[in-house]
């Protein structure tokens, strides 16, 4: 009986061992199947990143106002799908020998600890990744430094200069380490970004071009309307007064009236001529630059010559006109005839808009950045900040309330600005009502120099 029990027990133990083994084997299979299925799902989620980016691209392009905003939105999608800790878009700024200088344009996941703005990467690779086995030397050292994360996945599009980098703190981040197979993912994401960003940039440029064209068209329409008005006014005066003076006219004019009307006709004719000359001048501004005869001239000499020319006008308006002495050797490279036209216009404007007892000062200096700065400052009526852009548009002066008080065609300032720009310079106006106006011409460093005075003979 005991032997039987021992036999039964032995059999039961063997049976139990068998079931335990089978249980563990089946369990192991189940575990592996579960893991394989999970891994497959995680991989498919990862691989959907690019598809999602493509799907989101149109929405992002519509949502984002500027190409710059797209980068951050794209990084959000990338981080959400790849579940990486940090990511950044970088752009090549310049070459430094064998290295490239990159700027971090967009970054995500840094919290309060932002990434370095610039990074130098020697021989930036098209694709790179780091694992626990990667030796931290170039370029791993530089690339891990961008995100300050030990595990990175990088791809770089040399043609456009853009790169994308993802980073993780732990190697098997959420599911598995970065691997060579991720090249497709990261390149796909980068190319979608470049594509959408360039498309957005083109769209923005197109919008700007359209707005500029519309503005130009509106400006042209305003110009023609104003021009017609400005031509008609003196012409009407000429025709009206000459009608009255014609033999057989029903008007019986006194000698004084005849003389006055003849003067009006003459003034109107001169105004027409001045207007037509300015219009021709203004319309030919686009062709001025190639025709400029550039030569070096002393800045002070140019200012003094214009001041002398306008001294009579200043005296007539009881305005004190002075040229302030600057650096004696400052020379500018300009077309003297055209530049004189600019200075004459600025100084005559300043005199016209400055009341009796006021002062107009012309000066020139070499700025620390090597550019030449010529300024005409007055203590006149000044203007509001919002009126300054209008003052640089044709006919705006004529169109304003000043036209009755201050004669002129209203094309002087736009012509002056156009001529300065033809010289490669800029014209800037600073003004405030009642405080006067300063018009500043800035010429590029290449058109400015200081010439030391020649030593006395002997």
């Amino acid at each position: 009986m005991t032997e039987l029990r021992i036999l039964d027990l032995g059999k039961l133990e063997r049976e139990l061992a068998y079931y335990r083994r089978e249980c563990n084997d089946l369990g192991a299979r189940l575990l592996r199947l579960q893991e394989e299925q999970s891994q497959a799902f995680r991989e498919s989620r990862r691989s959907r990143t690019v598809a999602k980016l493509i799907r989101e691209a149109h929405r992002l392009a519509d949502l984002c106002a500027t190409p710059d905003e797209i980068g951050s939105s794209m990084l959000e999608v990338i981080v959400e799908n790849t579940l990486c800790d940090r990511a950044a878009f970088v752009r090549r700024e310049a070459a430094q020998g064998n290295s490239d200088l990159f700027r971090v344009t967009h970054a995500i996941g840094f919290g309060s600890d932002p990434p370095a703005e610039h990074v130098t990467v020697p021989s930036a690779p098209a694709f790179f990744l780091t694992t626990a086995r990667t030796v931290i030397e170039t370029p791993a050292y530089e690339l891990t430094g961008i995100l300050r994360m030990p595990y990175v996945l990088w791809c770089y599009d040399r043609a456009s200069g853009h790169a994308l980098i993802l980073g993780n703190q732990s190697e098997s981040n959420v599911s598995r380490p970065f691997e060579a197979g991720d090249q497709e993912l990261v390149e796909g994401a980068l190319s979608v970004y470049i594509d959408v960003m360039l498309r957005k940039r083109a769209e923005v440029e197109l919008r700007v071009a359209k707005a500029t064209a519309e503005e130009a068209s509106a400006l042209r329409a305003r110009f023609i309307a104003t021009l017609s008005h400005e031509l008609r006014t003196p012409l009407n005066a000429i025709i009206g007064f000459s009608d009255m003076m014609l033999p057989g006219s029903s008007y019986r004019l006194t000698e004084h009236q005849q003389s006055e009307y003849a003067q009006q006709i003459n003034d109107s004719g001169r105004l027409l001529l001045e207007l037509i000359n300015d219009i021709l001048d203004y319309s030919s501004l686009a062709k001025v630059a190639p025709q400029l005869l550039l030569a070096w001239a002393k800045a002070e000499t140019l200012l003094s010559a214009s001041a002398r020319e306008l001294a009579a006008l200043a005296m007539q308006n009881e305005v004190k006109l002075e040229v302030r002495r600057g650096e004696p050797g400052l020379e500018v490279q300009v077309d003297q005839l055209r530049f004189r036209q600019v200075l004459n216009n600025l100084i005559s404007n300043a005199v016209k808009f400055t009341g009796p007892g006021g002062t107009v000062t012309a000066s020139a200096r070499l700025r620390p950045d090597g550019m030449a700065e010529l300024a005409v400052r007055d203590t006149g009526v000044g203007m509001r900040a919002e009126d300054i852009p209008r003052a640089l548009e044709p006919f705006q002066q004529i169109d304003s309330g000043h036209s009755r008080t201050f004669p002129g065609t209203g094309l002087g300032l736009p012509i002056a600005k156009g001529l300065v720009e033809a010289h490669g310079g800029t014209l800037r106006i600073v003004s405030a009502p009642g405080e006067g106006t300063t018009v500043t011409i800035i010429l590029p460093a290449a058109a400015a120099r200081i010439v030391e005075p020649a030593p006395p003979p002997g």
Partner: protein, 400 residues
């Protein structure tokens, strides 16, 4: 109680969205609970909440993700807010900053304070930063905190639920809003007034895939031997692949150790298992380190596998059970404390189980959840204990 959700890499923008979603009336809330994605700067989040809502105390902390009807995600940019604007339902806040010195003592410190505060059965929500350090990986063990709490609170009528806070699924870090600022190594307990009670469902998702094995050598959370063999070797044999080294962390994706409560030979019941995730593996020692140090030598355990189908079924059953208890009650808040490992990015489930909670829970119950490192809930009718790989769905309601 009102809930709000926001999502943006810009903390101020995330806060603006979440605060707008709170749809607060003119009165400022008495307390804010916030669960903030780990990629958001906590100080910026805290400052933005202060800017939007004035000098209100904020409790909560980092979350691997947030769950709400307005959105669910774990990109690290989510923010979930709960505003307490009714004094009858606003909890008192108890904190301990002693986690780094002694987790059990920190739990006891909170337990003692809670015992002095409660007379009638009270709901207590416990939150703490799960990750003590990243290098080397070290957790604040929930089992020690909860054990200290349970001992100190004694037989005081307390219904404890809670969760461990994480910045992300990789357990890179964690931090806490402690009512005053942003802190580390802190446990915060929210003690609700007696007028608030809770109904809790624990949602599971693991099943045993091995016979029982005895833990024959263990030191705190590190299991050296199972049935006299190196524990890692046993696990590797089961998985059919070598682990160890840097890949040890991947184990937490694959398998857990489970201890069956009650009759070990009773038919399988998901509710009778306490699971422990594997934090790391040591190939040289052949050991595995668990999330918690509460298994002992001689304990009979089984290797458990995640089962995504089982997980989804468990969620459906749990949500239905909670909905049945919510009928005809003044429900205040549905709080879902969801193990980060259950998120589909980590579990590989083709369906996001949190979505089943979002879609399934009675729409009249305001809902907010967060992805956690560990969950705490009353287990098998006994005192609360920490759980791994579970979802703890708690509905707070007014006591009748």
């Amino acid at each position: 109680m009102r809930v709000g959700y926001g999502r943006s890499p810009d903390p101020a923008s995330a806060v603006r969205q979440a605060v707008a979603a709170l749809a607060l009336r003119s009165e400022k809330p008495a307390l804010i609970m916030a669960f903030s994605g780990g990629k958001l700067d906590p100080f910026a989040v805290r400052a933005a909440i202060g800017e939007a809502l004035g000098p209100v105390p904020v409790v909560g902390g980092s979350a691997a993700g947030a769950i709400s009807r307005a959105g669910t995600g774990y990109s690290g940019f989510e923010l979930g807010l709960i505003a307490f604007d009714d004094p009858d339902c606003t909890p008192r806040v108890v904190t301990s900053h002693a986690l780094d010195r002694d987790e059990r003592a920190a739990g006891a410190e909170i337990g003692e304070k809670v015992r002095g505060m409660v007379t009638e059965k009270s709901v207590v929500l416990l939150l703490f930063d799960s990750v003590a350090s990243t290098q080397p990986p070290r957790l604040h063990h929930a089992s020690a905190i909860v054990s200290g709490f349970n001992e100190a609170v004694g037989n005081a009528p307390v219904n404890l639920v809670g969760g461990g806070l994480l910045t992300d699924m990789n357990m890179t870090g964690a931090w806490v809003f402690d009512g005053e600022g942003v802190s580390k190594h802190v446990a915060v307990a929210l003690v609700f007034p007696p007028g608030v009670e809770a109904e809790t469902a624990i949602l599971h998702g693991c099943r045993p895939v091995s016979a029982f094995m005895e833990i024959t050598r263990i030191d705190r959370a590190t299991v050296y031997e199972l049935d006299g063999e190196p524990a890692l070797k046993v696990i590797e044999r089961m998985l059919g692949l070598p682990i160890g080294g840097g890949r040890g962390q991947e184990l937490s994706l694959m398998a857990t150790l489970g201890q069956k409560q009650g009759d070990p030979y009773a038919p399988y019941d998901e509710k009778s298992y306490v699971n422990r995730l594997i934090l790391s593996a040591n190939a040289e020692q052949g050991s595995i380190t668990l999330f918690e140090p509460d298994f002992e030598r001689g304990a009979m355990v089984q290797i458990m596998s995640r089962d995504n189908g089982l997980m989804l079924d468990s969620v459906k059953r749990g949500v239905e059970a909670i909905n049945r208890t919510a009928i005809g009650r003044q429900n205040l808040l549905g709080l879902y404390i969801d193990c980060a490992g259950r998120a589909s990015a980590r579990s590989g489930s083709s369906i996001e189980e949190a979505d089943l909670v979002v879609r399934g829970l009675d729409p009249a119950v305001p809902l907010l959840g967060f992805y956690s490192g560990v969950e705490v809930a009353p287990f098998a009718g006994e005192q609360s204990r920490p759980l791994d790989w579970t979802g703890v769905l708690t509905v707070l309601r007014r006591r009748d």
